[in-house]
Symmetry: C2
Subunit: 333 residues, 2 copies
């Protein structure tokens, strides 16, 4: 049975029922769930003051559970980046911990990659995904299954449908990315990983397409995008049209990017602030293949600490990888 | 009589009456006003497509009027930065053109500084300030007077009240800055000026304090803030409180910055998306002095092209500067 710790590194939990539901649901899914002592701490808009949240992160790292799942995102990790003991966090990954989350957690994933080259997981958040009531639709089936396979080590690829025009594309590189605004907020700082030849995935919420475009063009002008092998856009949701748009849309924004960017820009990744989201190993060597409009993002087996010996003696993972039929999700949108 | 061209480099003008009012009012103030042929062009949310707006900027630069005043901000300059002929824009400044604006225009000011080391002016926008109806309050007196003095070369300092705790501070450096989000969107790109020992001023609109904080901490973590002699915060307006704030405010954000930043962080600069705004020469050698709670930001005479010979033979500017009583505005908030 896998140990799973729920902790809150960023924004305050407005109420506890979603946390209780998430803990119960994750328990029913087979995890040995514990809740960090500061998970419900409150300081202004934060889940406790900076010292409290730093201590929580270091406490989880020291405990090195199989899964460290953030309860929610919000804002708060930026304040901690210069004080975090990245080596300690990196050691927890070596011991087998999978750090999972999205949104503000992007700062943790990318900082971990920049400072320790260790892999962490872009994926669900406890309250947002596993804390939903049945009336709210409960946890999405694909999100749940993908998470379970990612956490037991069997998820080796994800798939989705993209626009026409990329048939035959095949590239390899380090998979990295996350929330666009959070990723951009690390540019120029020591916490921004310098990945060359990577596969960069991005999503965002509550950002008007003109703001998404401004951020994407910044990454392009900063030389980040053209240093990648591919850019993979997830879901950009929660923004409101303006009377000033006059036909300007997310599509325009993607077109503007493609007109300036040498690398292929794919859309359709089922990841972001949406119920249906895959898990992606941030920092893993990954292959991207397109057949027609079907995209396969495959990393094979991602070794985490105690998985290593297992991996070395077990051919089955290799077979699974070759067949592309295990842990592969085809999400058509 | 000074030639003044109104042009639209970024967002589309939703209607023309504000432009007509601005032209009329600026004419009454003594300018020989002309309106660029593409000032009212429309392409989606932009004032014409990228080629149209690029051509407008280059046309204004070639005409080299005394004043090049943007009609409004919005979003759009980011798309043009890599294509702009910065040398041509720089030559217009050498010929005497004062480029004026704020918000999205920050990208123009900072790009000009990064590529040509030429001075431009953070100040009003034609429609937002000079295009207001009498019912809307007309143009603010201080904004108008400050603009007139900045444009005729007589404005050599501005003043304002800040919080207690900075009495006796006196520093010199290059004055630079503008809109925080636009400035941050240039980080890591060739359009971001690398100013050491400067005086950095910042403002923003419609950005919640947590987002302002995230941007300020990015600048701090990127080493930009601690490389300055002072940070001067203008007005941060238009944001809405959230039930999740629980006491978190703009004040908290400033405190968080001060706790991490070695340089003095002053507040109270009358600049931003507010009716009352001073003019500031972006790129000028400037002195900041604090007496009690009174802040003086003084640059003396900023030479623009044809002012140089005048400046060399005229002692009076030196006297004005020494006396600090000419072109000095004390805006108490």
């Amino acid at each position: 049975m896998s140990d799973l710790i729920l902790y809150t590194p960023s924004g305050v939990l407005a109420s506890t029922p979603p946390l209780r539901r998430a803990a119960k649901r994750l328990g029913a899914l087979g995890f040995n769930v514990s809740i960090d002592e500061a998970a419900t701490a409150k300081h202004q808009r934060f889940a406790g003051d900076d010292e409290t949240r730093l201590a929580a992160l270091h406490r989880v790292a020291k405990a090195a559970p199989d899964v460290a799942l953030a309860t929610r995102g919000g804002y708060g990790l930026t304040r901690l980046l210069d004080q975090l003991n990245w080596k300690q966090l990196g050691r927890s990954v070596e011991k087998g911990t999978r750090w999972v989350g999205l949104s503000d957690l992007t700062a943790l994933h990318l900082g971990l990659l920049a400072h320790t080259q260790q892999v962490s997981w872009a994926g669900p958040l406890a309250c947002d995904d596993f804390g939903r009531t049945e009336e709210e639709g409960g946890v999405d089936d694909i999100t749940r299954d993908c998470f379970l396979e990612a956490m037991d080590g069997s998820l080796e690829a994800v798939g989705f449908r993209t626009e026409a025009g990329f048939d035959g594309l095949g590239v390899r590189g380090t998979l990295w990315g996350g929330n666009l605004a959070v990723l951009c907020s690390l540019l120029g700082t020591p916490h921004f990983p310098r990945i060359k030849g990577g596969l960069l995935f991005l999503e965002d919420v509550n950002e008007h397409p003109y703001r998404v475009e401004r951020m994407l063009l910044q990454l392009q002008q900063a030389g980040v995008l053209d240093a990648q092998k591919a850019v993979i856009l997830g879901q950009f949701t929660g923004w409101k049209k303006s009377p000033l748009d006059r036909g300007y849309s997310l599509k325009t924004c993607v077109e503007a990017l493609r007109a300036r960017c040498k690398v292929p820009v794919l859309t359709g990744l089922p990841f972001g602030h949406v119920p249906t989201k895959v898990c992606l190993p941030v920092g893993a060597k990954t292959e991207l293949l397109v057949e027609g409009r079907d995209v396969f993002v495959a990393w094979g087996h991602v070794g985490h600490g105690h998985d290593h010996p297992h991996h070395e003696h077990d051919d089955q993972h290799g077979h699974d990888h070759d067949q592309h039929d295990h842990g592969h999700h085809d999400h058509k949108h």
